[in-house]
């Protein structure tokens, strides 16, 4: 977890805001370092984490989390982490064998027009606490759903509307009903087009998810071009506020990703410049 990002978001592993829908998005950049941050952060906060890893294997996340000080294998064994390995599961659907007994979460690969109801049901069964579980199970905190990433579903044939329905249902279950948090990654390529909304691509999906979420972190490259010491900028936007402070609050930071973390600083205050 990145300590500077924690102070920006006013969150510590001991006191997390519940019921948050955090949307991480990027445009022509790679925001997956934020997913690693949130994964290690929520595991440290002793939350029950359901991770839909649709683009990378488990060992990939495990290796990076090791560097951030969290062991995913241990968390999975203890029951704190439920990991859906999208790549492996999709193989069992595309090449069905008699011995495979995978979950039906990736069933949308058979027929993408059906929608993501099965995936939602997988999420729901993962995050809801098992009432009469085995003894010796540790009590975990509020459930957290992490999705990496939602836009790959569009490439697999799922419509953007179905992806929005899926995220709505997840929000209704995880955020509102169980007071947990959701972190979703959406990736856009290309310029921000001024399209009508007729082309239901990743831009439209990003807009739809932005309307649903309570906090967005938008990662982009620097507008001035490539820089060795500054890897890009992050725009943090708080959308829903309870009580006072009705207006949305936006803050811009620049960041640099290191081997064991990332540092965030106000624009123009990079250590390379000062």
């Amino acid at each position: 977890m990145f300590t500077e990002l924690n102070s920006i978001l006013n969150a510590t592993p001991d006191s997390i805001t519940q019921g948050e829908f955090i949307l991480v998005s990027d445009r022509q950049s790679d925001a997956s370092f934020l997913i690693h941050h949130f994964l290690s952060f929520y595991l440290r906060a002793r939350c029950k984490v359901c991770f839909l890893g649709l683009v990378q294997s488990f060992s990939h996340y495990s290796a990076i989390s090791q560097r951030l000080g969290v062991s995913l294998t241990q968390a999975r064994e203890k029951g704190q982490l439920i990991f859906l390995e999208g790549l492996k599961e999709s193989l069992s659907i595309l090449i069905p064998q008699e011995t495979t007994t995978g979950s039906q979460a990736m069933d949308f690969l058979r027929d993408p027009t059906v929608g993501l109801q099965r995936l939602y049901e997988f999420v729901r069964s993962s995050v809801s606490s098992d009432g009469g579980g085995e003894e010796g199970l540790e009590e975990w905190g509020p459930p957290v759903l992490l999705v990496d990433d939602v836009s790959v579903l569009l490439s697999l044939g799922v419509s953007a509307g179905a992806a929005l329905d899926f995220s709505h249902y997840c929000r209704a279950t995880v955020c509102s009903q169980l007071q947990g948090n959701i972190v979703m990654l959406v990736r856009c390529h290309g310029e921000e087009a001024e399209d009508d909304g007729s082309d239901e691509g990743s831009e439209w999906l990003l807009k739809g998810l932005t309307h649903q979420c309570s906090l967005t972190l938008h990662v982009q490259g620097l507008p001035t071009g490539y820089c060795r010491d500054i890897h890009g900028q992050v725009e943090v936007c708080w959308r829903r506020r309870r009580g006072d402070g009705q207006h949305t609050q936006k803050k811009l930071f620049q960041y640099k990703v290191h081997d064991k973390g990332a540092s965030f600083f106000a624009p123009g205050t990079s250590s390379a410049v000062l």
């Binding site: 509307g161 509102s176 909304g197 309307h211 309870r242 006072d244 009705q246 207006h247």
Partner: protein, 295 residues
Amino acid sequence: MLSELLQGADTGAVLIIQDSCSYSGQHLLKSFISAALNKEEPVHVLGFDVSEEELKDGLTASTQRLHFHSAYTDPLGWTNRSAFTVHQFCVEELTHLLKQTSHPKPVTLVIDSLSWILRHVSPPAVCKTLQQLKKGGAVRAVIGLLHADMHQRGTVGSVCHLATSVITVAPGTKGDEAVAKITKRSKSGKVTQDEEIFSIKGDFSVTVVSKTSHAGRRQTEPEEQQTDPTANLTFNIRLSDTEREAKEKLALPFVFSKEKKTALLQSGPGSGRILYEPDANDDYDQEDPDDDLDV
């Protein structure tokens, strides 16, 4: 005009609040709900976008007359626990829903949001339902929230065409202020347009800060101090009064002023005179190479 709309609509009014990703119209919608509740009118809310707790959060008015029909938990029937699904958005179902709770006063129906419905029900069907609600008499007024950046312009245009008033909200220049562009169609057919800057307080009451955008711009100008470029320097580039006079009197060397022109035209005493007689060889035309041929 925003205050008039908040005060109350005539029967058969359809009010659409258009918002975008940069500014959410949810708070303005809550202000309308709060205003209606304060007038002791019953309000029915079709909640798709937000849960009941989130909608009621912060509403200080008595929520006794607020009836929330939750379409948030299960709008598509996936968990078979739905109170209201998106496919139930038609006049028959809505009238049935509204009749379940009887009121002496006419009902205001709030739809949060229309965008959710438009994603699953075809726009012509939604328009038909809205029109029937407008003419029907089951409700006195319909207030809907529409995320304009989520639909094609044609869809947004069709739905707003049905509306008697459309409020488009956008973020303002200052922190908690927003700009509202209001279009109102009266029964006589007259269309009035207005642009106001407003802010919403914690109890969801709306304060209109200024009427038009021009007034808004004039307001910000005197507040921005003109930055003085001669301040905070390590050297002095300010001019004293005598220095300023001398500067203005100075004739610049290569400026062709009137004095110089007259001096050149009238040759002074003793200056040479130039007499020019054009020579035949001088008349070389670049364009015509045969000009010097003696033909």
